[in-house]
Symmetry: C2
Subunit: 206 residues, 2 copies
């Protein structure tokens, strides 16, 4: 049996029920840790699942940031120094990764609070997660407000990729089946993924 | 051992190698089938993995569309009639779902070509995938060009959700572990996901 839920139903739902339902519609996504550095030197770390591949040439990625009506360290830090990092994390660290979503104060580093060690390079002015097997350093390129609800798409250019050498295959593919990184559904239900198959470029059969 | 790859390296890579590498950076995501209806009545279906949760109240979702320098039926259809659907598909249908990415002509329906049956409602003027266990109907609300590379974020309001009744839990969560829908890494490597655990809202421990 199928349930039909309409816009008027959604608007009438109790707030938490609505959040749980709507946040889950888009499915399961890799959850990455976003590293930024505050003007005061604090190393900030926050889990994000709204990660967008913008383009390969030039290499660009985006993160969707919630409205900044309240204090938002990730956004403020990116505005302040222009850099952020994306870090894939092993599936067995999902509890520590989730804990970065707690409301720590500006001077508290989620690296220390949640048990991650920062790492730095000369290319990107933001902290990486040291033991992340796939780290991406980005420079902010475009800040795109979404008028419908005040969310913000932060688009960055890929300045640096730090990856375990054995994870890149000859054709450039990254083997995430070896990595076994974290995925999340909605804001709280964690998953791991298992490879089925790589398919060739699809062609019209005729 | 870690490889460090810089922006200049990325720019110098052979095109397909660069595409494979950069498309894989964002990780694994649910792949959904986007249904649209052309001005000529053709029912279009295309696989997308760049699905964005925009907000829960009002309920809005987005899809990132590639630059429209060449013929792009999904985009043209959404512009023409204002509606699109998102359809989760069972993991065992990943080959048929992938085949929707082939370059069919405007008058060829991917529903027929790839073996999906369309379904319609009075609320949304776009075709659903009939046997999809979780279908979402949206009305276009905002078309956001990304200047950096010409991609386009299409944001829609959720007008209708059609879901198997047994998949919604009491608190509103959708059980995707029961659904076992398709996930993809990059454009071609298909995955399925296994639930680890649902975690409570994270709080500062002190």
């Amino acid at each position: 049996m199928e349930n039909h839920i309409y816009a008027a139903d959604i608007a009438s739902f109790e707030k938490q029920y609505r959040t749980n339902l709507i946040n889950g519609l888009g499915g399961i996504k890799s959850a990455l840790l976003v590293g930024t550095r505050g003007a005061d030197g604090t190393n900030n770390l926050a889990i994000f699942s709204q990660i967008v591949h913008i383009g390969a040439n030039p290499a660009m990625m985006g993160i969707l940031h919630r409205p900044v009506s309240v204090e938002k360290h990730t956004y403020e830090n990116i505005l302040a120094n222009g850099f952020f990092t994306l870090n894939h994390v092993a599936a067995d660290k999902f509890k520590a990764a989730h804990q970065t979503s707690a409301s720590y104060s500006r001077s508290q580093s989620e690296f220390e609070q949640c048990g991650f060690e920062p790492a730095f390079t000369n290319t990107v002015l933001a902290p990486y997660v040291k033991d992340s097997p796939l780290k991406i350093g980005l420079k902010i390129a475009e800040i795109i407000p979404i008028k419908s609800n005040g969310t913000i798409l932060l688009v960055g250019s890929v300045e640096e990729i730090i990856v375990q050498a054995d994870l890149i295959e000859a054709a450039g593919f990254i083997d995430l089946n070896k990595l076994k990184t974290i995925l999340v559904h909605g804001l709280e239900t964690y998953y791991k993924a298992e490879k089925m198959e790589r398919l060739p470029y699809a062609k019209v059969n005729n």
